[in-house]
């Protein structure tokens, strides 16, 4: 029944790859932003350095936090990375042994977000609460639209398994794109900043209570814990980008081919990610952050696009 089957090893390889290049993407985005702002900016490897530093440090834990607090970064990281295992990176086919599909992926990301919010509340204090509240306000509005985008492609493919999706779309994607695909992609582009926690929805560079969503929740984490959280947010970002690439322009061997095909896929993936990263950087440096209560309208644009995509797909 499966068109092509990829061995578990490669799946795990994908996953590892994602985790490893996650910070790099962030670094690249930062670099591009700096350039666009006519700054030198930090090196693209800065995120790695940050994480290494944090992992070395000791932790300062809030005295009100409960025993759960320490385990939260761990679980968040695990959930995010596990989501990474569901994204086809250098393949365009489902794995031998089924693990999860797009819905599962979104579920895992939601799990990570949920745990992050809990962690923020655990320490008490206003920042965490505010961050969690805002994050949990935006998330329920993003998820359905994301889900609709997934559906709009899944309906064509008849499956929500990303590998199978990719396989169905085939590598000759750009030729086979229909109006629905364009609209879906547009919706996806609108959602990307929200899902990756960037301007105009969130501002990753500050805890300022006026602007932050995600960062506020990390305030009480420190040392290795914070490191895990940062790593997780990098991973989350690249996983989201990976989801886009898998949904709209998959590339890679559909058969469990040799190393050559895999390398080709990996290269293609890198290119796609770079493009998307550039897009994000562009948006981030050309827009201002929206007021919290403007965000629903902003997402509304995405919703309409996704809905139209669905309509075009079904009707």
């Amino acid at each position: 029944m499966m068109s092509g089957e990829i061995s578990v090893v490669i799946v795990l390889l994908d996953m590892a790859l994602l985790v490893l290049i996650g910070p790099l993407v962030t670094g690249i985005i930062q670099k591009i932003k700096a350039r666009l702002q006519c700054r030198q900016g930090a090196g693209v490897l800065q995120p790695y350095r940050d994480i290494r530093k944090l992992l070395r440090k000791g932790t300062v834990q809030a005295d009100t936090a409960s025993g759960f607090f320490r385990s939260i970064p761990v679980l968040v990281l695990a959930a995010t990375v596990a989501a990474g295992a569901l994204v086809p990176v250098m393949r365009a086919a489902p794995p031998v042994f089924p693990m999860g599909d797009a819905i599962m992926l979104l579920g895992l990301l939601a799990l990570a977000r949920f745990l992050t919010a809990l962690g923020a509340l655990d320490a008490g204090g206003a920042f965490g609460g505010m961050g969690a509240s805002r994050e949990m306000t935006i998330a329920p509005l993003v998820e359905p639209v994301l889900m609709m985008v997934v559906f709009s492609t899944a309906l064509a493919a008849g499956t929500t398994e990303l590998g199978a999706l990719a396989a169905h779309r085939g590598t000759s994607w750009i030729l086979s794109w229909r109006a629905a695909d364009f609209l879906g992609f547009a919706a996806m582009l609108v959602l990307l900043p929200a899902e990756t926690g960037r301007i105009p929805v969130d501002n990753p560079d500050t805890h300022l209570e006026l602007t932050m969503l995600h960062e506020g929740m990390l305030l009480e984490h420190s040392g290795p814990g914070l490191g895990c959280m940062l790593l997780a947010s990098h991973a989350r970002q690249i996983v989201t980008l990976g989801l886009v690439s898998a949904l709209f322009f998959p590339f890679g061997p559909t058969e469990s081919a040799g190393a050559m095909g895999l390398l080709l896929g990996a290269g293609a993936f890198a290119v796609k990610i770079l493009v998307l990263a550039g897009f994000l950087a562009l948006v981030e440096s050309s827009y201002a952050k929206l007021r919290l209560f403007r965000v629903p309208q902003y997402l509304g644009v995405g919703f309409v696009c996704a809905l139209t995509a669905l309509a075009l797909r079904i009707l």
């Binding site: 300062v60 409960s66 693990m99 939601a110 809990l118 805002r134 509005l141 559906f151 290795p224 669905l310």
Partner: protein
């Protein structure tokens, strides 16, 4: 898989269950000597009954499919022959009931002692009696083989739960809640009476077989009318929007383990009724079900899901919040049911899809029973340790009640439909079914189905937000009042009850295939299709797969088991990472509050947490908000600011209150206008005679 058990054993099991519940009901006499003794004995009996029920249901479900187990009851009423008959569907719901009942029975005694130590004997006796009657009625309602048994159990169930609601605490609030509940239940039952008797009078008999036969001869309109009557009756009980208003009042009022039963199980009994009517009793002999049925149910379900969770978000009473989530989850179940109705008995693709949808619904029934039961029990242990239901007055319980916290968190993750727990499984199946349905119906119908999928996604997200709030504010941060300050962990027997349900949540989440196996009998029976596992877990119990049967690039398959393993492995890795590469010690410091010394006033409150969403959905909430500021002399210095805000149920205020006020006012007026003069009396007699003579007397 297992050899079909001997019917005799099952019969004995059924009788055993009956006698256990009966005995439990009779333990109320022990209250004559000691209330605590009565409570204990009654719950033990209930536990035994539940175990027996579990055994029986498993026996039927794992036994050879399609066999119906029948057991005639002693003739009570000359005009009807009472009987029990258990097929896959009944057995499955019996299973659900028994699973939760076990937890409730474990949990109950300690809870009642801790929560209301001053309870009088009469009250304890009433509670024991009502609890066992409640469980017994629910169990036998699902096994009812005829209309009268069904209705008697139905009424018994309502009455018993009413007693439990009003018995918990005799302040006016419970009495009012119970009143509203009882009245609406009665109204629903009235509809059921019509639906049933319209069939029995055609059939001339009460047993379901005869009703089926009678329904065969119905014309389309009558059939649909009857279905909607029944749907109205059951929807009232299931708390479907807009018939839900009683639910968030009555469920929290009951003792927590009863709340768990009411929310986790009693609503499902109504689902059972809908399924029984739609697929079994009223289903046309051939051809698909009338489309109006399924679509109505689908729409109702979607509405309930969204409205339920939206109102839940704005609740600060822990148990009311959970009750509103029951509305939401019933909605999710109904989405699956409605989809199954729409799809069933269409061409081949339909059968598989319908099976998928029904599997999703039934599985969610079980899952919701598990995690909602767990959550109510958790809320119960918080309640009985702090005697506070308003989460604004709680906080910081994680350090004081670690077990309760952990188990509640488990339930929260499950109900938020997050992997790797059971809530996600059934919602995943629902999504797949919806996608399949959307692909199956092209055109507007398909679009509607996808939209309800989107609504389902929205529901999931909001549920997560809601429980981030509920859990975080209740258990994390600093204790806001001395109630929370001095809380201690709940007694072991209560923990045991919660652990039972928690384990259920994990097992159903990690290895759902085994639960799907249990669904073979009911799904095959209702849809005369291949049965659940043939559709959903073809590749063994560890893999869930959904054949969307569209362009056929193959089924979507996920494996909760593998994924959980992966999660655990990764968590282990991450833990190693987190321990840090250096051995620098961990130290504690106060939470960062911009340099001020933090107090509990700094912690985010539930109201504040839910505020953004309240503003986003203000159009629907119509929130009431009053801010009064006392200024000290100059208007620029506010000495204190009072804030009062509440979100009221629109259906309740806009519809129910008006109707009620209208009726009351009308009757008051009529009563005050009525004369006390004898001349009026005589006049009425004379008038009656005069009119009667003109109406009936004049020869025609």
């Amino acid at each position: 898989m297992s050899s079909p058990p001997d019917p005799a054993i099952l019969l004995t099991g059924t009788i055993l269950m009956a006698s256990c519940y009966g005995a439990g009901a009779l333990t109320l006499v022990l209250a004559r000597w000691s209330g605590r003794l009565a409570i204990a004995a009654g719950h033990v009996a209930a536990l035994a009954g539940a175990v027996a029920g579990l055994g029986v249901s498993l026996g039927v479900l794992l036994g050879d499919q399609g066999r119906t187990l029948t057991l005639p009851l002693p003739v009570l009423f000359p005009f009807a022959r009472l009987s029990l008959s258990m097929d896959g569907l009944s057995a499955y719901f019996l299973l659900v009931i028994s699973l939760v009942a076990i937890a409730a029975a474990l949990y109950g005694p300690a809870y009642l002692r801790a929560h209301s130590p001053d309870a009088g004997r009469a009250r304890q006796a009433a509670q024991v009696l009502a609890l066992n009657v409640f469980l017994g009625c629910m169990s036998f309602l699902c096994c009812a083989g005829d209309a009268l048994t069904f209705l008697l159990c139905w009424e018994g169930m309502t009455l018993a739960s009413y007693v439990l609601v009003v018995s918990d605490d005799r302040d006016g609030e419970n009495a009012r809640a119970g009143h509203l509940y009882m009245v609406m239940a009665h109204g629903g039952t009235a509809l059921l009476f019509i639906a049933f008797f319209a069939l029995t009078e055609r059939a001339g008999a009460f047993d379901f077989a005869a009703l089926r036969a009678a329904a065969g001869g119905l014309d389309a309109t009558t059939r649909t009318a009857l279905f909607f009557l029944a749907l109205g009756g059951f929807a009232t009980k299931a708390g479907v929007v807009p018939l839900h208003v009683w639910l968030p009042r009555a469920h929290p009022a009951a003792p927590s383990h009863v709340s768990a039963l009411m929310s986790g199980v009693m609503l499902k009994v109504a689902i059972y009724g809908i399924l029984r009517f739609a697929f079994d009793l009223l289903a046309p002999v051939t051809g698909p079900l009338p489309p109006s049925w399924g679509w109505t149910v689908l729409v109702l379900g979607t509405t309930s899901a969204v409205v339920g969770v939206l109102y839940a978000l704005q609740q600060h009473d822990l148990k009311r919040l959970l009750a509103f989530h029951s509305v939401e989850n019933v909605g999710i179940i109904l989405i699956g049911v409605g989809l199954a109705m729409v799809l069933c008995r269409r061409e081949a693709a339909g059968v598989a899809l319908a099976t998928l949808a029904l599997t999703a619904a039934l599985l969610h029934t079980l899952n919701h029973a598990a995690f909602k039961g767990l959550l109510f029990l958790g809320a119960g242990s918080v309640l009985c340790r702090t005697h506070v239901r308003n989460m604004e007055e709680l906080g910081g319980l994680a350090r004081r009640m670690p077990w309760t916290t952990g188990l509640f968190l488990l339930g929260a993750v499950a109900i938020s439909a997050l992997p790797p727990l059971n809530g996600f499984v059934s919602e995943w199946l629902t999504f797949q079914a919806l996608l399949g349905g959307a692909g199956h119906f092209h055109g507007p119908a398909g679009l509607a189905i996808v939209l309800s999928a989107a609504m389902l996604a929205l529901t999931g997200g909001l549920a997560a937000a809601c429980f981030a709030k509920a859990f975080g504010v209740t258990f994390f941060g600093r204790p806001r009042t001395s109630h929370a300050e001095h809380a201690t962990e709940a007694p072991a027997s209560m923990i045991a009850g919660m652990v039972w349900l928690g384990a259920l949540c994990v097992v159903l989440g990690v290895a759902p295939g085994y639960a799907v196996r249990l669904l073979d009998a009911p799904t095959a029976a209702l849809l005369d299709g291949p049965g659940a596992s043939a559709v959903v877990s073809i590749r063994g119990p560890l893999v869930l797969s959904a054949e969307l049967a569209l362009t056929g690039t193959g089924a979507t398959a996920i494996s909760m088991t593998v994924l959980t393993a992966l999660l655990i492995a990764l968590a282990a890795l991450a833990w190693a990472l987190r321990r840090g590469s250096s051995g620098v010690a961990r130290r504690e410091a106060p939470t960062w509050t911009c340099g001020m010394s933090p107090t509990e006033r700094f912690d985010y409150t539930a109201t504040a947490f839910a505020k953004p969403l309240r503003l986003v959905f203000a159009a629907l909430y119509r929130p009431r908000r009053e801010v009064t500021r006392e200024t000290a002399g100059t208007p620029y210095v506010a000495s204190r600011i009072h804030y009062y805000g509440e979100v009221v149920d629109v259906a309740e205020t806009q519809v129910y209150h008006r109707v009620q006020r209208g009726i009351t006012l009308l009757s008051r007026i009529i009563r005050l206008r009525s004369t006390g003069r004898i001349h009026g009396y005589i006049g009425f007699v004379l008038g009656a005679l005069f009119v009667a003579l003109l109406l009936f007397g004049v020869g025609r």
